[in-house]
Symmetry: D2
Subunit: 296 residues, 4 copies
């Protein structure tokens, strides 16, 4: 399988398509805003004008969009993808979306004899660019094994999670943990700062203990440096918080701390920080505390 159509060249898709090209795959790219295709064409990709053209000669169709609505529109709506894939092709949807959207896609493709995997990714801009993502996959086990070499080009590790929608389910579970860690870091750092501790020293402790996490190091240092340049936009974290809430609603699972965190993220977006990096929501905790975490 060498021929890949890659649909969706956002911050994540761009990095992934680039790595596929570097690994020697023949990649045809399509993006709703066609200008975004240029750097990939420069790397050797073919550019398609429509999803239909993009998938025409592909063995594997990879999709990476921003949300459920974009998936709905590409597959069932104006993008008309469903009508243009054909038996034997494999669609791999890497979008973070609700498992119900995944199930709807999978069922529609199945009716046409098209194979389908949900394969959302953990990691952001840098990991996409470096092939250092962590991919979580739902669908048939044999199909996963077949596609695995492609996914391994993009990722540090690739995980088979079970049947259809287990990939998107795992993604939401993981994003709950990410949001929890940012909230914990924000609560800890504002409390520490107001208590008179040196934020760098606090990070030093977090760095070595049994409750350490790479996210504390990276986000923590950026917070002290007041660097909120965007790897994963806060508005997308709010979108994910809503997906998690809906997922926990469907399964009727109480998630009290995550529910509290979501309200903080909302307030942060109301401050106009939606385009900044997700870590910018810690600024909201600073606001609440009347303090700012920074180099002393």
């Amino acid at each position: 399988m060498k021929k890949i159509a890659y649909l969706g060249l956002g911050i994540m898709g761009r990095g992934m398509a680039g790595n596929l090209l570097k690994a020697g795959y023949e990649v045809t790219v399509w993006n709703r805003t066609p200008e975004r295709c240029a750097p990939l064409v420069a790397q050797g990709a073919k550019q398609a004008g429509t999803p239909a053209d993009a998938v025409a000669g592909a063995e594997v169709v990879m999709v990476c969009l921003s949300d459920d609505n974009s998936v709905e529109d590409l597959v069932f709506g104006s993008g008309n993808l469903l009508a243009n894939v054909r038996q034997g092709q494999i669609v791999v949807d890497m979008t973070t979306c609700h498992p119900d959207t995944t199930r709807k896609e999978a069922a529609a493709y199945a009716e046409k004899g098209v194979e389908f995997l949900d394969a959302p990714v953990f990691g952001s801009k840098n990991e996409a660019a470096n092939g250092g993502l962590w991919i979580v996959v739902g669908g048939k086990k044999e199909l996963f094994e077949q596609v695995k070499p492609i996914l391994e080009v993009l990722s540090e590790t690739t995980h088979y999670m079970g049947g259809t929608a287990m990939g998107t389910s795992m993604k939401l579970v993981g994003n709950l943990v990410v949001a929890s860690q940012l909230e914990a870091l924000g609560e800890a750092m504002t409390l520490a700062t107001k208590a008179g501790l040196n934020p760098e020293d606090v990070l030093g402790v977090l760095h070595v203990t049994d409750f350490k996490s790479p996210i504390f190091d990276g986000v923590g240092q950026a917070l002290i440096n007041r660097d909120f340049s965007t790897h994963f936009a806060l508005k997308l974290m709010l979108k994910d918080a809503h997906l998690i809430a809906r997922f926990a609603q469907d399964l009727n699972v109480p998630i009290p701390a995550s529910a509290a965190t979501r309200e903080v993220i909302k307030a942060a977006v109301n401050k106009g920080w939606g385009e900044l990096n997700a870590s910018a929501f810690i600024q909201q905790l600073e606001e609440l505390a009347g303090v700012q975490v920074k180099k002393q």
Copy 2:
């Protein structure tokens, strides 16, 4: 400095005093329940009948008690420690207590010309036994440097955090992070389980991603194994949650997710799980969700 008095032989103090003996220090031990001294005496410790006797010949007095009340009682109350220490001695209090208690102790010792460090520890039973704790210290820098060789016997890393009470402040900040991580793990695992994911597979993903944490590995696997044997008792985590709440009250820092977590811990203790390991509070999240995380 070779002569150490060690007061307080709970699950933590026992391990630390043992390591001091192994490292060649002359250790005199005292504990309110004297029976607990036996294993240390077997390792070569002298046993004292009162705090006064314990500290009589010591250069350094180390204290590790269960809470603020125990410290108050030992230092200012029935233990009468304050009256029995003398100029030139160094007291190192390793108890997790409120920074105000620390400040009160430090001020009282200062009046008598006794040196003081607050030096609470991260880690639990195993780390205490193995000399793998992480120690966070407040007080004079020079004093810290002087005592550091002793602390290094007990710890993987030792951190100077600033003046008096910066050790206990850091401890509370760190414990906020620990509780947040257990809550996040619990919410994630119950949600995942109810969604049909295999808990072991979820841990496998958490193990490698950028938001991983050693605590997820250890506690997560124990949760799946339904192993809640006590390293750090849940009732102590509730005590710490109250300390954190009071600390955040004094500094007027909103900590919305930690506040939500604290209410969950309360409910878990009401179930009668206070003597189990702290991780047992995840069972409360399972209760709320009507599901149990375990081997499938």
Copy 3:
């Protein structure tokens, strides 16, 4: 305007249709489960086999369903209502649903020249039966004035809230307050009980103070009597909690206490109390506290 079609004879619709009959209106009823029409037919209603038949001769079409999906299905789906109403008819939808559903309905009716009001109600079984509801209405002011005499038959007070969807918006805002009051009552009563106060005495105080509310009297006494017979089912309160959450999501309004309350309601439904009265969710607060509020 004397000829009314009434679609949807749940606990609420039944009471309302009955009052219209008593007031002398000619009412044709339809319900998905046709058996529910019998008592109204006994009171003089005509029964229609389909929504189309029901609305054929009506001047005003009143709808009262259980949720957004039922509205979608009746209007746009299998009920085919949209195809069967005609220019000049007035549709009054009394369902508690998301304002977006209201807007979609209103727009579809407008295209056909059909007038539309959203008019959800506060109150439950008893108020519906007694004509003691409180109705909140969105849509054109003149249309509201025209329909008002009919609504006054059903209600103690009728409120014009503004343009389309202002009725359903107000309903969700009001339901947020109801859930908050039940949560406050539950927290207060469990705390009081565990403190050793007599629950009846506590209600006595709540009854007279400036922060009293009729809901405290009614629900409070029922709680003490352990009477959870259904006036408004807990599962519907959970449904409303989800509507409120989505509404607050769309408007990006943080509602931290309501978010916490929603998680409690979820847990109560997981206990199997969904068919009991909404007030049964206070039992969940009792569970958390390990205490039960009842006659001492």
Copy 4:
């Protein structure tokens, strides 16, 4: 019983002492800041220079202070009250404080043969001035009956709640409900405003429904008028929130929505609104939502 000593002339004590004078009692007043006595002296009160002088000839000693520390200081500390009361006198403490402080006071008085009631009040400036408070009393029933005529001068209703500390316990339970109602009003009004509803219309609905409360009318209208003149200061509401938290901690009762509300109040005080009326904390909810509730 005609001779009363009244200690503590804050916003509440002032109104109550004035009403006792109007009702014909002989009142001797004392206040830490003596200037506050002047208006009561003008109404016929005697002014005492010390608590000892104030209570010398009194049959009943009434106390109304701002918090637990003030009570500690008056009774056991610099005020030296305990040393100056004598057998047969009755002390009535109307301060809102922790039940443990009440118990400590009661026990100390009992040793001296002094009778004691805890009798905190609901209501604020206006109710204190008008004799319209609601008083909740703990202590011996016969003693309550004996003092009741005095309390009735001050109150609309007076409630016997049980033994010692049941008055202060009820006060904390009631204040939990007050804070919940303000939070509910704030969440409702910000949500309504952002949804495009007219705040006055929303209050109109809240005014008549079964979930109405006088507090919604009063505070709601003041909010729309942006009137935060102080009847009960926000900083005192924060103090009460901490008392409630500690009370719920002692009883180990989870109060998830109240816990969330407390974090909002903290943030409001960090904005510098502590001296404004308690209702000013709704401004914090407006901040979070990026909207302001006011006349449209």
